[in-house]
């Protein structure tokens, strides 16, 4: 593993959602620039286990930037300093020998801390359950090519559908708003003819659930767009607002 980077990590430790947490300092040595940020955590955890201490709990799974499970707030930015990547895709060559790196969990009232850097993002699932779908049962479907869809619409829908539900948009927003996440799903379905049928009820019930979960409002700072590892654009928020406006006029 021989590497030549020595770093100081300040990591948020919190036993559970009831106790208060604090930043704890850990020096790490001989880190290779080829390691991913999470592999550096593996090295640190291995050390802690050897010393008889409790390793740091953090969420991660696919480690290739698609599952959306990893969620570290690194030096004040979700998924760290690089744009367009998740924490698992961040490599240590993005840091310098001697750096101090502060690592915190996602911070939002709607994402309570479970332990250390792990948070509960089930609020996202509850929003999707309120309308982030097209109501078509298995077996209902017609022949797939019966509805031609303009390529530009299909592509725009796909771009919105690229959201991985990681929550970086919420974590970076000063209002802890989930508008980028919710609008990405609304956009994906609103852009397709199949999704138009339920467009009105969808936007109203998803927005209502979003508010109930305690996410804040959007004040157009645009931080979410900058930090989104999948490049979901602010346009989707504008689209959601239009959908919401029309839905309310209709009723």
């Amino acid at each position: 593993m021989s590497g030549n980077m020595n770093l100081t990590l300040k990591i948020w430790r919190q036993k559970n959602d009831k106790e208060t947490g604090k930043l704890v300092t850990y020096p790490v040595k001989d880190i290779s620039p080829d390691m991913s940020f999470l592999e550096m955590f593996d090295v640190l955890n291995e050390e802690l286990i050897t010393k008889g201490e409790e390793p740091i709990a953090f969420d991660h799974d696919c480690r290739e930037g698609i599952c959306g499970m990893c969620s570290m707030f690194i030096n004040g930015r979700p998924h760290g300093p690089k744009r367009g990547v998740t924490t698992c895709q961040l490599h240590m060559r993005s840091f310098k020998n001697g750096d101090t790196i502060v690592v915190e969990p996602w911070r939002a009232a709607a994402f309570p801390v479970i332990k250390d850097l792990t948070v509960d993002r089930s609020a996202f699932d509850r929003i999707i359950a309120k309308g982030g779908f097209i109501s078509v049962n298995t077996g209902n479907a017609q022949e797939a090519n019966n509805i031609p869809i303009p390529k530009s619409d299909a592509d725009a829908s796909f771009e919105a559908a690229a959201c991985i539900g990681c929550g970086a948009c919420v974590a970076t927003c000063k209002n802890s708003s989930a508008m980028l996440f919710v609008s990405a799903k609304i956009s994906q379905l609103a852009l397709l003819p199949q999704g138009r049928v339920e467009a009105t009820t969808r936007v109203k019930s998803m927005v209502a659930q979003m508010d109930e979960e305690g996410f804040g409002n959007c004040t157009n700072t645009g931080a979410c767009e900058i930090e989104c590892p999948k490049g979901i654009s602010l346009e989707s928020i504008a689209r959601m607002n239009r959908e919401y406006f029309v839905a309310n006029i209709k009723s």
Binding site: M1, S2, S32, P33, D34, L38, E39, M40, D42, E46, L48, I49, G52, P55, A57, D61, C62, R63, E64, I66, C67, G68, V85, Q89, I114, R121, S122, F124, D125, I128, K130, G131, G132, F133, I134, S135, V136, N137, T138, A141, Q142, E143, A144, I147, P148, I149, P150, K151, A154, S157, F158, A161, A162, I164, G165, Q188, L189, L192, Q194, G195
Partner: protein
């Protein structure tokens, strides 16, 4: 016990149609009182759960991740096959069936594979109706691309994120049912055991990963949709949490394990960079369409790639397989890379890599592009710029991913690649109904052994997961549940539940009591090394025997010296890993036993003793045209049962790619 695959009578093309019209049904009011447990929320699990809930069953879904949307189906890049014949290029159900049987090297069951091919078209219809944004042409119709092992264009895709889009589609269907109250979702829960009562599967023991509490859940039937076991090799393209525990516990409770040694090694992965490596990243197979694979002709050559002149490069795939060249199937390409590296011709710091070079493609595309632009005397620099533009259009996201991980620019220096474990064709043995050898216990998707034989073709995994969940299990589960309508929900105070929970608690207590000196990862890495060296791309009697004895020693050491920190009544990822690695160690031994038993080479399984004079895989159809189904007899002993494979529609032939 004799294995009964329950293949319906009749001509191959009519089996499934006839089955569907004659299988027993459950009336709607009875469905409301029948409970089904689904373990895993990937393509197979999510599609099965939502379909069954729509039909009226009461469904509970369990996944270890924080949301059903994280299941590892999400990482599939390439696409999903379906015999739509939209390209008018001669595709049909029969051709998809034929390609799948041949690609699997004649080790899959004809009837299942035909059904898979037949329902493949319904999957596309369903997904499009659900709002999955598959790629389209300018005319608004769905787009197709070609993929390895076939001569037609039948692969549907959504850029390089097909798995993500299909999974999020299935997830949306699942969450819709959660919203309607027909599915109860248990995220961050791990299945610890299955519960059998009077010979039938009646529920599971699950651990709430946040509180650490063990829970008992009853079901009239249990569906394991828990994915593959590639992480037995420690390094693989699987997610960190992917594990065999659900399937392995089922094996211990009577479900036979089919063809455990059939694993797929994918040729185009980014090589290991050091001991810290935690997982391997796959780069789409499509890169082999334009890239040329080579190593230096000189053994141990330490020059940089760009300093090695053309005549000193060995394009070994083009040399060995002139007809298919760089496009030979996955298993052939993987073994050829290993052969060169083992012989001392590998490249990079580790010497365990080969070059995938785009220089020729950049030159070629540069020239065509210059012609298109009517530039008569392009400079070399212009050609390079044009060529790079074309390559970037086609493969830009993959090149960017490579640069992100390795820090090298693949437009300037050749990429380094090496094979990595990707998919497991083996899994729980199931009959035509997808039921294991335990009544009421089913296995779907990668967790079962069924449709890919000894080697899976690209873009077929997504197809199988969704076929099982959307279009097979909703019918076949009726054959069993129609006989269970009189069975009242069994109290979880039943002694079988109590005992299963005690057993699960016993394992947890035992792990904490060891208080050893080495981390779980330490043992997992050692297991991975044994498996990769001796039960990986090439296997031999000597190596496998050594592996079995080494794994036994490792197992003993694990149970004496593993250190699990923290407590059981808490969120404790180290404890989760410990339980999973304990199961991987046992499975590893069985995989080696299975590989040892199968003294032929077929698909992803290559026995060094069984090869032609040219070093190609040699199948032994008369001896080994069977599914090896292993019964767990306790105390690390296993009994082999054989399901003979009959090929009636297809004539068995040798695969040749020369």
């Amino acid at each position: 016990m004799k294995l009964d695959s329950k293949i319906p009578e009749g001509a191959l093309e009519q089996k499934w149609e006839k089955y569907k019209s004659s299988v027993a049904l459950v009336n709607p009011s009875n469905k409301r009182s029948l409970e089904v447990i689904v373990v895993g929320s990937g393509l197979a699990g999510a599609s099965a759960a939502s379909s069954l809930a729509e039909m009226g069953y009461k469904v509970k879904v369990f996944c270890f991740q924080d949301s059903a949307r994280r299941a590892h189906s999400i990482a599939a890049q390439g696409g999903i096959n379906a015999a739509k014949n939209y390209q008018n290029d001669g595709d049909s159900t029969y051709r998809l069936f034929y390609d799948t049987i041949k690609g699997g090297d004649y080790r899959a069951r004809e009837a299942n594979v035909y059904r898979l091919a037949a329902v493949s078209t319904n999957i596309i219809d369903q997904c499009v109706a659900m709002g999955v944004p598959l790629a389209r042409e300018y005319g608004g119709m769905l787009s197709n691309r070609s993929f390895g092992g076939t001569q037609v264009q039948r692969t549907f895709y959504a850029a390089g994120q097909t798995g993500q889009q299909l999974l999020l589609g299935a997830y949306s269907g699942l969450l819709r049912q959660v919203g309607l109250g027909t599915v109860e979702m248990f995220a961050r829960h791990e299945m610890m055991d299955v519960v059998n009562i009077e010979g039938k599967c009646r529920g599971i023991i699950a651990r709430d990963l946040i509180s650490g509490k063990l829970e008992r859940h009853f079901g009239h039937a249990v569906l394991l949709c828990s994915g593959g076991y590639g992480n037995v090799f420690y390094l693989s393209t699987n997610a960190m949490g992917s594990n065999v525990t659900a399937a392995w516990k089922a094996n211990k409770k009577g479900a036979f394990f089919g063809n455990p040694c059939f694993t797929q090694i994918h040729p185009t992965c980014i090589p290991v960079s050091g001991d810290h490596q935690s997982k391997l990243t796959l780069m789409s197979e499509s890169l082999r369409n334009d890239g040329r694979i080579w190593v230096p002709k000189k053994e141990g050559d330490t020059r940089k790639a760009n300093e090695i002149p053309e005549e000193e490069r060995d394009y070994y795939l083009e040399r060995r397989y002139p007809a298919f060249g760089n496009l030979v199937p996955r298993d052939v390409a993987s073994r050829a890379a290993k052969e060169r590296c083992d012989a001392g011709f590998g490249v990079g710091n580790s010497k365990m890599a080969v070059y995938l070079d785009y220089k020729a493609a950049i030159d070629r595309y540069g020239k065509t592009q210059a012609k298109k632009l009517n530039i008569t005397n392009p400079t070399a620099e212009q050609l390079r710029v044009f060529g790079k533009q074309v390559v970037e259009e086609k493969y830009g996201n993959l090149f960017a991913m490579y640069e992100q991980i390795t820090g090298e620019n693949p437009y300037e220096v050749p990429m380094r690649i090496y094979p990595a474990v990707h998919y497991t064709m083996g899994g729980l043995w199931v009959d035509y109904n997808l039921m294991t050898t335990v009544p009421g216990l089913y296995a779907l998707g990668e967790a079962n052994f069924s449709d890919h034989g000894a080697n899976r073709l690209g873009a077929s995994a997504l197809m199988q997961g969704l076929a099982d969940g959307y279009f097979v299990i909703p019918y076949t589960i009726g054959a069993y549940l129609s006989k269970e309508i009189a069975t009242k929900a069994i109290s979880t105070d039943h002694e079988a539940f109590v005992n299963a929970e005690k057993d699960a608690q016993g394992i947890i207590d035992k792990l904490f009591a060891i208080k050893g000196t080495k981390s779980v990862d330490h043992f997992h890495k050692r297991l991975g090394k044994i498996m990769w060296d001796k039960c990986g791309m090439a296997r031999s009697e000597k190596g496998l025997k050594e592996a079995i004895s080494e794994i036994r020693t490792l197992r003993e050491e694990f149970w004496k010296d593993v250190r699990v920190p923290g407590s059981a009544n808490d969120f404790n990822p180290e404890l989760e890993k410990a339980g999973r690695v304990a199961d991987f160690i046992e499975l590893g031994e069985l995989m080696c036993m299975d590989a040892l038993n199968r003294t032929e080479s077929c698909g992803g399984h290559f026995r060094e003793e069984s090869q032609t004079e040219e070093g190609e895989a040699l199948r032994k159809d008369e001896e080994f045209a069977y599914v090896a189904a292993w019964e767990n007899k306790g105390n690390h002993t296993y009994e082999l049962h054989k399901e003979e494979l009959k090929f009636e529609a297809i004539k068995i032939a040798a695969r040749s790619y020369k």
